[in-house]
Symmetry: C2
Subunit: 200 residues, 2 copies
């Protein structure tokens, strides 16, 4: 018998699996599966191998909660970082952006999310208790809230600021204002209003 | 030593591997990797397994060139299909669309692409020789060109029509016209022009 009959075949299984990637619908999953099968089987093997390897070896840093393969991530384990400063970021991508700026030498706490009650992201999901314990290690003197300036990022910063201040910690927030290199003409009105209010 | 140092880590390796998927840039690949690691490790295992399984078991049907796990795909192996009709389509997705219409009972030839000289897709890449050999089996009476009505699909249909007719085969093309359920008011002008020209 050549026909595969009722059994779900390997191609359908692959398309359904790829749909579990965030932002990938059935059309994209089909296109990915056809492309890999037709044009790039080595890429398929590389992706399968990298997925298996990452799921086996990547875990969370016990201090800052970012992804790492060791007990401590390389940043937390670096004795040259200033342990008195603790920046709170939403994701490893945001942490990388701060690092690229070259202006921050302290340590991090990575929330791996942000408060979003409608999506089921509450204080438990973003590890607020873990942050409070981490910030109360006796070494941290200032917590820099570096969550995004979106509605959810602001909500997260406000909630964490209240909890951290209640424990007697100094809490700051990244400055809001006109982006470097911007013509005022093209900056949105609320940014200008904040930049006026926070003028120095 | 806790820090991983210079060695490329498993997370970076995963992000780079995911970028090899069509349509996935570095931001999407990061988002996918973080999502899988943080929220859906079972999905990562499912994708890795499905990729490995599909690359091992999926090959091309020896008659119609579509993806299959057997020597012949289930359509080519089905004795109830009308072997006198051969529809030429660009992809398994297009074949599935024709099947869903319920109006076609013949066999298929799947090009797995379309002529696109600028992208390096020539007659060799779309298997034109294989199609000509397939259509000349002595059973096929009519080749229905069902490539897309895009510039590249039309180019493909024209080139294949010339080669097939030169071998004495009857060649037809899907009708162009106003989509079922459309108000004329909202149909684009070139479609209306074609529908007028091909009126019956």
């Amino acid at each position: 018998m050549a026909a595969s009959g009722a059994r779900r075949d390997a191609l359908e299984e692959l398309i359904e699996a790829l749909r579990r990637l965030p932002g990938v619908g059935v059309k994209s999953a089909q296109r990915m599966a056809y492309h890999l099968l037709q044009h790039d089987r080595p890429a398929a093997q590389a992706i399968a191998g990298a997925l298996t390897h990452a799921m086996q070896s990547v875990r969370h840093c016990t201090r800052c909660h970012t992804f790492t393969e060791a007990e401590l991530c390389s940043t937390c384990a670096d004795p040259r970082r200033d342990a008195r400063l603790l920046a709170v970021v939403e994701s490893p991508a945001d942490q990388a952006a701060l690092e690229r700026s070259g202006g921050y030498k302290g340590l991090y706490f990575v929330l791996m999310g942000r408060l979003s009650p409608l999506d089921g992201m509450g204080t438990v999901e973003i590890g607020a208790e873990r942050l409070l314990a981490r910030a109360a290690d006796g070494v941290v003197e200032e917590v820099v809230l570096a969550t995004g300036f979106t509605a959810e990022g602001e909500l997260t910063a406000q909630a964490l600021a209240a909890a951290l201040k209640a424990r007697g910690l100094k809490v700051t927030r990244l400055a809001r204002g006109v982006p470097a290199g911007s013509d005022l003409e093209y900056v949105d009105l609320s940014t200008i209003a904040y930049a006026l209010h926070d003028r120095r």
